[in-house]
Symmetry: D2
Amino acid sequence: MTSAFPPAHALQVSQWFNAPPLTLADLRGRVVVLEAFQMLCPGCVSHALPQALEIAQTFSREQVAVIGLHSVFEHHAAMTPTSLAAFLHEYRISFPVAVDAVVAGSPIPATMQAYAMQGTPTTLLIDREGRLRLQHFGRLRDLAIGAQIMALVNEPLPGVTTNAAAQPGCDEHGCTLPG
Amino acid sequence: MTSAFPPAHALQVSQWFNAPPLTLADLRGRVVVLEAFQMLCPGCVSHALPQALEIAQTFSREQVAVIGLHSVFEHHAAMTPTSLAAFLHEYRISFPVAVDAVVAGSPIPATMQAYAMQGTPTTLLIDREGRLRLQHFGRLRDLAIGAQIMALVNEPLPGVTTNAAAQPGCDEHGCTLPG
Amino acid sequence: MTSAFPPAHALQVSQWFNAPPLTLADLRGRVVVLEAFQMLCPGCVSHALPQALEIAQTFSREQVAVIGLHSVFEHHAAMTPTSLAAFLHEYRISFPVAVDAVVAGSPIPATMQAYAMQGTPTTLLIDREGRLRLQHFGRLRDLAIGAQIMALVNEPLPGVTTNAAAQPGCDEHGCTLPG
Amino acid sequence: MTSAFPPAHALQVSQWFNAPPLTLADLRGRVVVLEAFQMLCPGCVSHALPQALEIAQTFSREQVAVIGLHSVFEHHAAMTPTSLAAFLHEYRISFPVAVDAVVAGSPIPATMQAYAMQGTPTTLLIDREGRLRLQHFGRLRDLAIGAQIMALVNEPLPGVTTNAAAQPGCDEHGCTLPG
């Protein structure tokens, strides 16, 4: 399948929380929701991270991987990995969180630079083939992001025949999708 | 394609607002979101109807039809079509709304009886082949209903070859889906 | 005590719900919160009436009387006393509600005209001497209206010596004030 | 005036933000709202601190002093004064904030111990004579706290004759109280 969508840039990470180190290549076959945040960013705390937690609860782990990316570009002394560990504990964030790697001589960390993000929160959707499909700075509505993720979940992989009979029996508790 | 999903019961309607009379058969090929409500039901007003409006804004009309169903089973004298017309105007509800037909000798209207609804709000999802896929009484989370609708939008119709290259380019404003 | 505050206009009422007929003169000695609303006004339903209910729960009835005023100026056929009765039941509004009296030849009811209200919701605060102290069209913040009501509750009546030792022992459940 | 209300314990502070060092004695004559919080406490960030900011906007500074107290009893390495400075900047907290003094050999800081607080957030109301009038752990409703503060603002000081004619002309933007 040819496509105009670019491959997602690799994550450049100095430390992982809640998981052993992983790469986007490890997640091929699953949709990836990458939530770039700072622990002292009000919009991240009030909206983006609760939404990421709800995404993780709504979709099965086999279908969708939710990953946090702590992309600190200001107040570096205040948002250290030590502080982040306490933050993740207090806010009960249980999905994997990567610390975006520092770039010598720049306040902006490496992954944030590679994606040319405008700030935090930034939500990235990466499809099952590892291509960047959405990059959004700011708030996203729950209804729209739920639909967008499901659209990517349902995309056929090249060389794989989809079976309509295997489609989901959704209910309120989420969508039980074929594994 | 064989399926365990039952065909959705026909709507039994005495009056339409915001649209000429229509049937579920007219909507074949589109996903139908049917929102059964009463205009004096607090949960309908605070949650279900705003969610239905947001669904109508998020998905294209070619893909998803949002239909209100005014299923009055109490306070009949207070929730007449005259009152409903004012309600729809004040709450800026612009999608088609059907008045569920009165059944002689029963407080419960005809469509509500056919679906054996427990109360209002009840949300029904009907797939592109006219089959009932979800019936839920009470509140639904935006993220889950967005995903569920998109799952149905993306189901292939029998005899139609899906084209993976035609998949959506979603953005924050909604999902621009193939027509 | 002389004062620049005008006496509140008498209520002109065709029907009462949740209480026998009463007048502002009957309420002298108490602060009156008068909430003018229409049952099909979205801002009244989502904000003003829930706030009025919370005011009634926070302050003692001996100190503060919360009164609804159904001031219909549009969609008269949709907002009849029959419809209002069902509305009050469904929204569990238990404080007294007056139906603002119709004025022959005008869409605007009598009390609404007397106060020159701009629309609904309008919140009126009337002090213990029956004087109008606040008239506000639109939304009021909970914190500010709580403070404003308490300021009026604590105003001394002329000829009555206040006793500082009798001041309230407030707690989270509200303010237990001297009777 | 005799009273059963205890004098408020002195603040034990190692550092001040947004203000030069001050004591409760300095604030005598004003009502003090003391908000004890931790910067990584979710309930503090989502509810208690926004409420404290709204209190500061609603009441005049001459009447009510809002003071934050950073009472860290867990994750000490994550909630240093350096981190707190960044937090106050990002959350635009402009009222004075005191760092509760560390007690050697204890995780619980000195002022928190003196008041026997159960956790954070804890809201304290101190009256114009420096007496503790409310101590509440957890969430407070805006309407109730607004009323409680105003009740204390209006309490006469001993030896001062209150002047009923000087009472407030409240409006939506807050309560303009006699200085």
